[in-house]
Symmetry: C2
Subunit: 200 residues, 2 copies
DNA sequence: ACCCCCGGGTGACGCTTGTCACATGCGCAC
DNA sequence: GTGCGCATGTGACAAGCGTCACCCGGGGGT
């Protein structure tokens, strides 16, 4: 019997996934959480075999939970189920030692199979995504990432400078670097590109 | 017996919702579709009582399907189930005469209840969203919307001018207007604001 | 015929962006 | 210490952006 904890912020999807998993005779959903913190608490309380979690959640993200699990060496497997086919996310998930990474685009039957595989100690990674993840790495450094993120939210260079204690000139230098590295025409395009790769 | 067709692009969510609805004794899921066009075809083939659809799908969006249903006077109720709490979307959905508009944030049990209500001829609209929808209307006109959308994708003014057969000066005028109307500081912020309201 | 509104355009203004070449200063290897 | 790399600044330039005041021409009222 595979004992599962479910973390997913959208209540309707959470309920539906729970119903789906409970149809499987060898799977039992112990409980579910709507945000990162409560998922983390329930994880320690219920001690499930497998945690099935989304990435984007209020509080802790699924990736952060996976990192904590690894740091505390909890005896639980983590399976990420997410909308985002972003190589950067998968990369970070693998670094955090997750057992599975599925897309919500994948057929529903895959989920139960993936849980079984992971429970046996195997790995269930979305195949075409796995390729991309190793193909191109994030070219941005920390400063460029920060600056680009702020810029993408509509802040001006001087604005960003104030927030990060940098001169507006420096901010523009970083932005220019980032734009160059990404082969974009301006900050907006650069932001979009970085975001869709999961480099944020 | 309520006969339901399900349209939702994420396979896993689609499967899960289907499992959820099939647990209800008075509900039967006839079939499901992964994109707008096939949903429209299945709608005519299966003639369900209720169509449960997401908004963001490849091809036709859920809103466009709802509009078509109204135009063709098909005897099917439409229930929108979406992630987006955007007043503009609800507004357009109501204009298209949908029977229900639920958020994926709502508890899973609501879905079956909403289907029953709508099947009886009632309406099931997310309450707090309903308030917002009537509070602030989209201040943008068509040109401003077009221009803002392109600008948000990273195109420059001259770029946009070429695409729409306008002078770059005119494009900047529209952009300026839009920025003003939305109380934003620049095109990026304006784009974000408009987007999150569902005015796109 | 008159006026006025509306979509589109022009030109000018000052500010912001994107780019680049060149400084400064700090820490680390040797 | 000398040298190198890295992070941060500076100053200049051209291009793009945001704003505004104003122009033009075609409909529609009245």
């Amino acid at each position: 019997m595979i004992r599962v904890l479910l973390a997913e912020d959208q209540a309707m999807v959470r309920g539906a996934l729970s119903a789906l998993l409970n149809l499987e005779p060898d799977i039992e959903v112990l409980g579910s959480a709507a945000d990162g913190e409560s998922a983390w608490r329930e994880l320690q309380r219920l001690k499930p075999d497998v945690l099935v979690t989304d990435i984007e959640m209020p509080g802790l993200t699924g990736l952060e939970i996976a990192q904590r699990v690894r740091r505390h060496e909890l005896p639980v497997k983590v399976v990420i189920v997410t909308t985002f086919a972003r190589p950067g996310f998968l990369r970070r998930a693998l670094d955090a030692g997750v057992g599975g990474y599925l897309l919500k685009d994948a057929p529903a039957e895959n989920l139960a199979d993936a849980l079984r595989t992971v429970h046996r100690g195997g790995r269930a990674i979305d195949p075409q995504l796995a390729l991309e993840a190793w193909s191109d790495a994030d070219p941005l450094n920390d400063r460029e990432r920060q600056v680009l993120r702020l810029a993408g939210e509509g802040h001006s260079a001087s604005d960003i400078g104030t927030q990060l204690n940098l001169s507006h000139g420096t901010v523009r230098n970083y932005l220019s670097e980032a734009i160059g590295k990404l082969g974009a025409a301006n900050r907006i395009e650069a932001y979009r590109l970085a975001r869709q790769k999961g480099w944020l």
